[in-house]
Symmetry: C2
Subunit: 365 residues, 2 copies
């Protein structure tokens, strides 16, 4: 293989695929980035067998071929190259990187060992505005579980029911649910996409990309810009999320988002070493006034703000991290809080937006 490319193109390629490189030291070949030069196109690939990313662009191919280079060393070299043309030339898994009269020689892997990343099927795919899908990810992925003990909660449910697409994330203490319309779609699909793959899509997807999604039995394929990304679905049964979302409530509150965020942040400073329950925040609502009164060894806090109240007075405790996480992704000036008392799931929604909700289970005192 012999190709001539700019440093910028190399850097874009490496940055695009690098996070699919395996972080674990299982198969050595998965530490590699594959470069395939064919038909005036240079294609970068990396995979950890769960997530696969491929990115292609035009390049001057002097001799076609395929190489696999150690990801970490190669990406560090690329970052430090001068801003000039670079010639990559490879024989017997040894690659010369030539630039400005100097050169690097690095030992690669056998490309035959690199797992095949299949092509994205081009039939039955669904189309979605890129900015909409990015926002759907942002509004749901934070609710996924971090620990891998129960795998189904480390992914987002992608649920396609004819013209309705839903993304749902939950760690069993909270649930984030976002829907969008896909006009004219006839397909049905239900699969759990790893949160890590969704975060990569969020990172790589640009608002002006054309995004298509294709769902197969074991994988979901995302195609946008010059990037193809595939994610292996997580096995297991996702909870029936529709069943846990309450359809009515005893109290509806309309609260200024920013002021509420500030109040909870301040209260959480004290609850850090709260003797009763770490990280809890107790909210009292009475006569259209929301109050937080907390104390710890370090001191106490008394906060209050006027809100719009419709329904019964209520007193309810939350894990303050869960409340702050959801407030961070709410862009509207006010937030709607729907509650039926201290033991029932509470729902938060942006004002005037029926496509999104975040459910949080209260803490029992």
């Amino acid at each position: 293989m012999k190709i001539k490319v700019t440093k910028t193109d190399l850097l874009t390629g490496v940055n695009t695929v690098q996070r699919a490189v395996s972080a674990k030291n299982t198969l050595p070949i998965l530490q590699g980035i594959k470069l395939r030069a064919e038909n005036n196109t240079l294609c970068f690939e990396a995979t950890d067998l769960e997530l696969g990313i491929r990115s292609s662009f035009d390049a001057e191919i002097i001799e076609e071929g395929t190489i696999v280079l150690p990801s970490r060393l190669f990406s560090e070299i690329v970052r430090k190259l001068p801003d000039s043309d670079v010639v990559l030339e490879s024989t017997d898994h040894i690659t010369n990187i030539n630039y400005s009269g100097s050169s690097f020689t690095i030992n690669g892997y056998d490309p035959e060992e690199f797992p095949e990343i299949g092509d994205v099927p081009v039939e039955d795919e669904i189309k979605l505005p890129a900015d909409l899908f990015k926002n759907m990810i942002r509004q749901t992925v934070f609710a996924c579980a971090a620990e891998e003990t129960r795998p189904v909660f480390t992914g987002l449910l992608l649920h396609l029911e004819e013209d309705n697409l839903a993304l749902v994330g939950t760690d069993t203490h909270r649930l984030a649910y976002r829907t969008a319309k896909i006009p004219g779609n006839k397909q049905k699909f239900k699969g759990i996409v790893p949160a890590k793959s969704m975060q990569e899509i969020y990172r790589l997807l640009q608002d002006d990309h054309d995004l298509t999604i294709y769902c197969s039995k074991s994988r979901v394929f995302f195609n946008f810009g010059s990037i193809q990304l595939q994610a292996r679905l997580i096995d297991g049964q996702f909870p029936n999320y529709k069943q846990v979302i309450p359809q009515k409530c005893n109290t509806k509150l309309l609260i200024n988002t920013k002021n509420f965020t500030d109040m909870v942040e301040r209260a959480s400073l004290l609850s850090k070493d709260n003797l009763i329950k770490t990280g809890s925040v107790r909210i009292n609502v009475e006569n259209s006034v929301l109050k937080i009164n907390q104390f710890s060894e370090a001191g106490k806090i008394n906060e209050e703000m006027k809100i719009n109240q419709d329904g019964e007075d209520v007193s309810i405790s939350f894990n303050s991290k869960y409340v702050l996480d959801l407030l961070k992704i709410i862009d509207s000036e006010n937030i709607l809080m729907e509650t039926s008392g201290a033991v029932n799931p509470c729902i938060f929604r942006p004002e005037n937006d029926q496509d999104y909700l975040c459910l949080v289970l209260p803490l029992r005192n």
Copy 2:
């Protein structure tokens, strides 16, 4: 004590003094920030007994007094306060922070226990342009030792000899030396100022500040803007730095700073797992060409660039981190390298600047 201040003023005060708060859990009172309200002035103070910082500004003092608040909690509260007026009111070491109809109450320390930070003497001080002194710190402090086994190397020597001021830092492998003229000064002084204190001055000092320095037997006082900073000198004998700086050399090289930096950075990628010596870079100079040829298990690198050579050919090895550290603080287009072979100290200087040099000991192969 009762005062009315803006959030911004509180935040500036806390940010200015906070890094002098003790990081160690020795004396509880040293975890505190002292606020003294007196004569329409609010004064913030913190100290870990080595470094003391005081910052004052005008404030509405309703009732004079002194309080000491727990630094971490108080600074986090201040950061999260709304952008409005704040009233601090204190009785019996308990302080109420009132804002926008809400309030925090925090338990403070007994101000009697807080160590006195002396006033800065206003006689015999020397004056120096703030931007010059900042640059002097930047060009020398990186050469100080990080580990505290030999305390004298964890500080910068401040050496005043009549109209000449020198700052010198060394960890015994390298030495950075910067001088400046203080016209008309008659004083002599030699003291080792902790690198941490110098870094704080670098952080707080602004180019338009008037800077005065006063040296006493055990402390150095820095006065600038509304800030007074005092540093306790490190006990011990600083090496005779003038003796170790070679006065002549066999080879003088003039090298493009940016290209040299890039070359050494690339070579250091391979030397990370260099089997012979971790982090070493070997430079070969012959006929006005500088070459780096290195190899490791991962591959090899061949770099070369044209330079100006005056004197003998030379081959010399360095710890690449030391070379990169000094190249980072060189602002001139070219760097002058003065060497007398592989075993003698090598001197790097910015082109056309006799006020600064950095000496690096070569690695013996």
